[in-house]
Amino acid sequence: MNHNSESLSAPMAAVTAAPPAQPARPATGKRSLQQRRSRAAWVLVTPALILLAAVAGWPLLRTLFYSFTNAALDTPEEYDFVGLANYLDFADGDKFGVLADPLWWQAVWNTLWFTFASVSLELVFGMLLALLMNQKFRGQGLVRAAILVPWAIPTIVTAKMWGWMFHDQYGVVNDLLTRAGLIAEPLAWIAEPTLSMWAVVIADVWKTVPFMALMLLAALQMIPSDLYEAARVDGATAWQRFRRITLPLIMPAMIVALIFRSMDALRVFDLIYVLTSNSEATISISGYAREQMIAFQEMGTGSAASVLVFMMVAGIAASFLWIGRFNDEGKENKE
């Protein structure tokens, strides 16, 4: 390695003399910092990745696999491939499969409606609540604690509590409404198909508004207060301050919270299963898939429905991302 000795003496001269060619890099056989860190990083994430592949990746693939078979739940080893028959099949001039099942489409409609209704109500109430919590007043700690109560209560308990409150004869809701003179007859919140979805939405909103409010509150608290002072000096009204300062600044956090909540609402199962016993008027797509698989023991059909649920949720998530990106680009173009 005579390069080595050269490059050792070169630097002294280089300060004054014309720079010689790039010195050769002596081969030390060592890895650079970045290389070492990348390697170690892979070692560190591997256990988590393996575990994740085992409990999420593999089952997901198997679900996909079973969706093309006619396996039954109690004997999953015995199956025949049936192609896409679980999804949609034509035989004897009739349609079969999940996509031909009116209950599936009812479930899709229920789920979308539930998601839309509860997430938009949550957004409105969450925003109001966050604005309230952003004020300074005595007893704020108590209110904050109270807000956390619905969030802390397990969903099943929520379902049972509201189920009891919605009880057609002895429920508190009917009692209060009657006392207030709003209704003459008790309403069958759970049994009546037109009302039962509202019962579900109300219970869900009650439970999840705190989460939304806390997200929005965190975003609100990151807005520097001198912005408001400046706007006040400029003579902006409260509504203008909200519209021109608050809303644009919390928009990113709001969108993230909306996405999170929508994804959550789209996979709803437990609340509906317990509150309205998966009634036809309220059954969700997750509930439908599970019913096919567990109650009817149709592993193939159930898996196909599961795959459809997955694709639907993934599709909606992807379109959220796509809209988000579209928005970002729009903003950049404007600037």
Partner: protein, 281 residues
């Protein structure tokens, strides 16, 4: 007449307090109502009165002992604790790498983890069913620990990653200059500092596991292996048509109180954990 500044402020304060009161009542009332109901028996149950009338503890005894909710509490506790323990252990190293090291593939891993955390559970249900049976875990709480990892692990990795990111880079560099390797940095420098964040993350994951319903409903058959949500969800009375509301409310109160107490104790942390997981994502 124009209101003075002081009057305006008083007016605003009035509305704020009124709103705060309404909000608090709405948030707490259903639980309060559950407590009221749980203390009533027989025909009292069907009173619609908003103040405590009787104090019967029979419902609690019934729910905990006869309906096996007491045992379910234990099951839930074991399942949630083990799940959270395993997930935290695995995710602390992963979170360090994902938050602190720039390496190829990092973004894809993060994206995958985010996606998995948004999975509908039902999408893995039949695959998980097969896996659980294959491992001989059907109808045992092992099945739940395994399946809960599906959603707990992405969650803990994600939240810990955002927490790790917020630690100053210079701290890590100081440790590198001191001659620490990655393992020493994680175990001797980051883990001790991360204590509070680990508690927060663990608590949130614990609550998630405690509340899970679908897997617990699907993979457990026998009453004695049920977790709390299933025990409450499937609580039956003497006759099929008459739900034992007193018992159900008693059980609900019992499983909710520990969580509410935990949440209120760790209020600040929980709020920061929730927002770290979502807002900064």
């Amino acid at each position: 007449m124009k209101l003075t500044r002081k009057q305006k402020e008083l007016g605003a304060k009035f509305w704020i307090y009124l709103a705060a009161l309404v909000v608090s009542v709405i948030c707490v009332f259903p639980f309060y109502n559950a407590v009221l109901t749980s203390l009533r028996t027989g025909q009292d149950l069907f009173l619609t009165s908003y103040l405590p009338t009787t104090f019967h503890w029979d419902n609690y005894v019934n729910a905990l002992v006869e309906n096996g909710v007491g045992l379910s509490l234990l099951n839930s506790f074991i399942v949630a604790t083990v799940t959270v323990g395993v997930c935290l252990l695995v995710s602390i190293t992963a979170a360090f790498a994902l938050a602190r090291v720039r390496f190829r593939g990092r973004k894809y891993i993060l994206f995958t983890i985010l996606c998995v955390s948004m999975f509908p559970q039902v999408a893995v249900l039949s695959g998980m069913f097969e896996l659980v049976r294959f491992l001989g875990l059907y109808d045992s709480i092992g099945a739940l620990i395994l399946s809960y990892t599906t959603f707990s692990l992405p969650f803990t990795v994600w939240v810990l990653t955002t927490f790790m990111r917020s630690l100053p880079v210079e701290l890590e560099e100081a440790a590198i200059v001191d001659g620490a390797g990655l393992w020493v940095i994680i175990s001797k420098v980051f883990a001790p500092i991360m204590g509070p964040s680990l508690v927060t993350t663990g608590l949130l994951a614990f609550i998630g596991a405690w509340n899970e319903f679908m897997f617990a409903l699907t993979f457990i058959i026998s009453t004695e292996n049920r977790t709390v949500p299933v025990a409450i969800g499937l609580l039956q009375g003497a006759s099929q048509y008459e739900l034992p509301w007193g018992n159900i409310m008693a059980a609900s109160v019992v499983v909710t109180v520990p969580i509410i107490v935990l949440v209120l104790i760790f209020q600040k942390r929980i709020v920061s954990g929730l927002t770290a997981g979502a807002v900064k994502g």
